[in-house]
């Protein structure tokens, strides 16, 4: 080794020891005949000291060290006169007797500290320098710790890690596949897996009983927002289980990971029905770190001449609102911002009614004309409105009101700092619908994928009222983000048939799309179910990052480019010729 110790481990107990350290020069400064060098490695920073009096030549060489030079230094551990108690090595320094430059460095293109002057583009190009910043380094280390904790837990529960292939068959389902041309079978293509869904279900048919894999998946989607073309999931499947077993197992997993990695005791996960989540929070991934539920008013509204409410109620719409606690003093400008927020095209409300319960005890509303103060106070009771509270009420189609108020709820939380950043909201969303009806087409489609098992007690609605059939499908939601999705799968041929019938799939479709899987199910399929964690998002949340890119060593831009390697690129004609393909257009 080029070192006897790392730069993160020496302290006063090592006082007087001869040591050898290696690392990068974080900074060097000459000060009254002394030169101080902060030497950095993955484990920490240790101060090196050079003294003009004791060795002028060595000290002068040290003065020539630039940032990010790699050096090996020998010397004796000594107690510092001016201590830095913020770092573990802050009570000692190394009196250097000898050092070697292992590698010089040009001036880096940006400052290698958490607070950097580099743009994201520049940092992605020089990712190997970006990773030297403690924030990114620590995130990658935490990612490894999370992987480790996940595996420990699952190994202890008799899960077997099994690798599934990356060169598989392209299926017309779901998102767009990345394709890989085959050279040996010209004109044919492999696909990169969007997930090992079918392969893991076949492992259950194969009797492997409990499977997991921390696995790369690929989706050739348009990279809206924070998506990556390749991403990682913790993929799991269990045989002979009911939904409750899944909740216990994977609720336990997330508790274990939080304890191991963050030393945080996460309480047992609550379950919230999909219908309730939508009704109360306007979202199937509600953030419960704060309350502020949607209150539905259709049944509570006093009679009035207010046409907006009356029309919606008559037409099957919804009147509902939120209590923005403590916001009664919002200015006209602030209220206008909230109105603009809900009027944005993807929300599409016409506006918001407000009722202010002022600190002075008075009640003011944008619908004073239609409601008496008495009536407004009556409405306020439904929201448990107190002095200082602001009620915001919308009336429109049910889904529009819920979605808009759900978004508004989050917006209010941000504006008012309602969220304690140290708190965690982790819960199960359960009882998703099995089928969805297209809003325009009225066509029945599956809400998740066609192998999700219906609730046995809902089979009675299968033919008469299919959208009423609940699926044994579940999500885990963390701080308002979906971090896991899964289901109990269908293992009975007759139920699978009925699902396909409802989806209007012909026997030919079935064979083409799911043939090899259906074939496997002829040979004794056990009841089974599973889930997949979105690992990138989980790590992002646990590490407090802002984007998925923060938790990936070498991420791609939103355009799918790797700026460091400069990929994708044109390739030699010879390569394409061997594959029997040609670039067109």
């Amino acid at each position: 080794m080029y070192r006897s110790h790392t730069c993160g481990e020496l302290n006063l107990t090592n006082n007087g020891t001869e040591v050898t350290l290696s690392g990068w020069v974080q900074k060097a400064r000459a000060l009254g005949g002394m030169t101080f060098v902060d030497l950095r490695d993955r484990y920490g920073i240790t101060q090196l000291v050079f003294n003009m009096e004791s060795d002028a030549a060595l000290c002068e060489r040290a003065n020539k060290l630039g940032r990010e030079f790699v050096i090996q230094a020998k010397g004796k551990v000594a107690e510092r006169s001016s201590k830095n108690l913020n770092i573990p090595t802050g009570e000692i320094e190394i009196l250097v007797s000898e050092f070697t430059v292992l590698s010089e460095s040009e001036t880096p293109p940006f400052i290698i500290e958490n607070e950097t002057d580099g743009s994201e583009e520049l940092r992605l190009k020089y990712r190997y320098l970006d990773i030297r910043r403690p924030k990114l380094r620590d995130t990658l280390i935490m990612r490894a710790q999370i992987n480790k904790a996940v595996r420990e837990y699952l190994d202890n529960k008799d899960f077997i890690e099994i690798e599934t292939p990356n060169l598989i068959k392209s299926t017309p389902e779901g998102a767009r596949d990345f394709l890989v041309p085959s050279r040996l079978v010209n004109g044919a293509f492999y696909a990169l897996p969007q997930s090992p869904q079918i392969l893991k279900q076949l492992l259950m048919v194969a009797g492997m009983d409990r499977y997991y894999q921390i696995v790369r998946c690929f989706r050739d989607e348009d990279f809206r927002g924070d998506r990556q073309p390749e991403f990682t999931q913790v993929d799991c499947e269990m045989s002979f289980v009911h939904q409750d077993d899944i909740f216990d197992t994977f609720g336990g997993l997330i508790q274990y990971v939080f304890k191991k990695v963050l030393n945080h005791d996460l309480p047992a996960l609550q379950r919230l029905k999909y219908d309730d989540a939508i009704r109360l929070y306007g979202s199937d991934k509600p953030d419960l770190r704060f309350d502020c539920k949607i209150v539905e008013l259709n049944a509570l509204l006093p009679k009035s001449e207010f046409g907006v409410f009356n029309t919606q109620i008559e037409n099957g719409g919804l009147v509902a609102g939120l209590n923005a606690k403590g916001c009664a003093a919002y200015t006209r400008k602030q209220l206008d911002e909230l109105t603009e927020f809900v009027k944005a095209s993807h929300r599409g409300l016409g506006g918001l009614v407000n009722i202010k319960f002022n600190e002075d005890g008075s009640v003011k509303s944008s619908i004073d004309k239609f409601f008496t103060e008495e009536q407004l106070r009556e409405i306020g009771k439904a929201f448990d409105a107190q002095k200082g509270d602001l009620l915001l009420i919308a009336a429109d189609k049910i889904s529009k009101v819920r979605k808009s108020l759900g978004d508004l709820r989050l917006d209010l939380a941000k504006r008012n700092n309602w969220i304690d950043e140290k708190s965690w909201s982790v819960l199960w969303i359960v009882d998703f619908p099995l089928f969805e009806k297209g809003e325009e087409s009225g066509e029945i489609t599956f809400a998740h994928h066609p192998f999700c098992s219906p609730h046995p007690e809902d089979l009675q609605y299968f033919d008469t009222d299919p959208t009423r059939v609940r699926a044994q499908t579940y999500d885990m939601v963390m701080n308002g983000n979906e971090i896991l999705s899964g289901s109990i799968r269908i293992h009975q041929k007759d139920i699978q048939e009925r699902v396909f019938n409802n989806l209007g799939l012909t026997p030919e479709d079935r064979e083409k799309k799911f043939g090899f899987m259906l074939n496997a199910f002829k040979y004794g399929a056990p009841p089974h179910g599973g889930c997949a964690f979105g690992m990138d998002r989980l790590v992002m949340l646990m590490s407090g990052g802002d984007t998925i890119r923060d938790v990936i060593a070498y991420p791609k831009t939103s355009g799918g480019r790797d700026l460091m390697m400069d990929a994708p690129t044109a390739v030699d004609e010879k390569q394409l010729k061997e594959l029997g393909i040609k670039v067109v257009g």
Copy 2:
């Protein structure tokens, strides 16, 4: 859960307990008013019993159970009258009071036992049934155990698991890349990684210090023999290390894995120089589970008129042989087989000289005409020949003799069962040459890859005698198979320049081929080195499998096909159009 216990855990201590088991019907047989069902799951087999006398209806239903039906059975644990002490559950049986068929099964296309009647093609097509065979199941379980042991060891040594991307840049080096057309950048391609070599070296530049990953790699080679287009390696890299640190770390790893998984104490790994391996065993991956070294005779041969020897020695060739211990009684036919073996086109010897040291004390040779018995006995001394031994001697170009005798050595071991299948030969091969000279072209090429560091003490030969320069490159060899390869990398710009000069690379070549990596090395590269284990082969050896396919859940055929999924396949024109490519020819 559909079970209270698995089919592998019940024994006499559970006697009298009410249990619920779920699993597959291995076999069912009716016998004098009783029906016995072997119920199988991943954990074992438990015998279920049904009794006509106590419940005729239930027993009759049980008689209808077919092989591979999935059932759930409830009943009481009872002591068996006729015990099977070969399995952990063999002292008990379950007196079934109730059972449910969870899933029926058609007759499987082959017998689901270790000794099966299914061809490999059939078994690959129905891989989910093949995996139900205990042999394949146990191999996949052992694979997971090996992964776990590897990670435990490396985690404890401060290695960080870091994921590298699968969609990277195509480079013209090495084997052929699999390409992935980019839809967002039409006409551009990603490549699937042949290994994360450059990416892991950049993690060292990034200061991550110790990295590992159990990672999928891809090579679009012609699938000779036992190759898979996708394979798994344990990929590792360390900073601030010398070769000895690598030997300690990864020798320790393999010892740890053997202890954990096989409970076998592997001794510390010996190191054998590449030159010695080639000289003594005719191979850079010698199997040392048996001895039988090559003995070189050039300096020892008595003067004779035997032209074959004399010519080769005069022309710089080699005369060398093996002692086939105990084979003096080989028949003419057997000797002819050995001769044919070394005459095969890829070995290309003209023949073999034999000297038999017969049990009766006589010496017989195919070159009796040219050598006296005295001289033959003298030659025998070099081989430590005893009564009953057979010497086999070749004379040809050095490389041809070594390769042929190396192969012959293995062939003899197989013929004579010299190998104790329970023994292990694991060792380091070290001091590989840095450069190779093309036999025909005389051109200098790198033996491993151009980032391998030369031995510092050999830099003196760099310009004058480059093939004499040893690289800090090493392989780990297990039972005659290379299971690890690695090197200390070059981290100094000037040495990298000299290597490139020797390879005749122009500055343009360098930039195009290795640009982003060389750029990274400008910003403070630490000394570093690493290696990669071939995981599939390691698992194959440890599990006693015959082919790589045995240790992969869903392998491909030698033609690169997945017979279960039927991949690769043609895809929709629409998909190709979006990618801007077209199938030609």
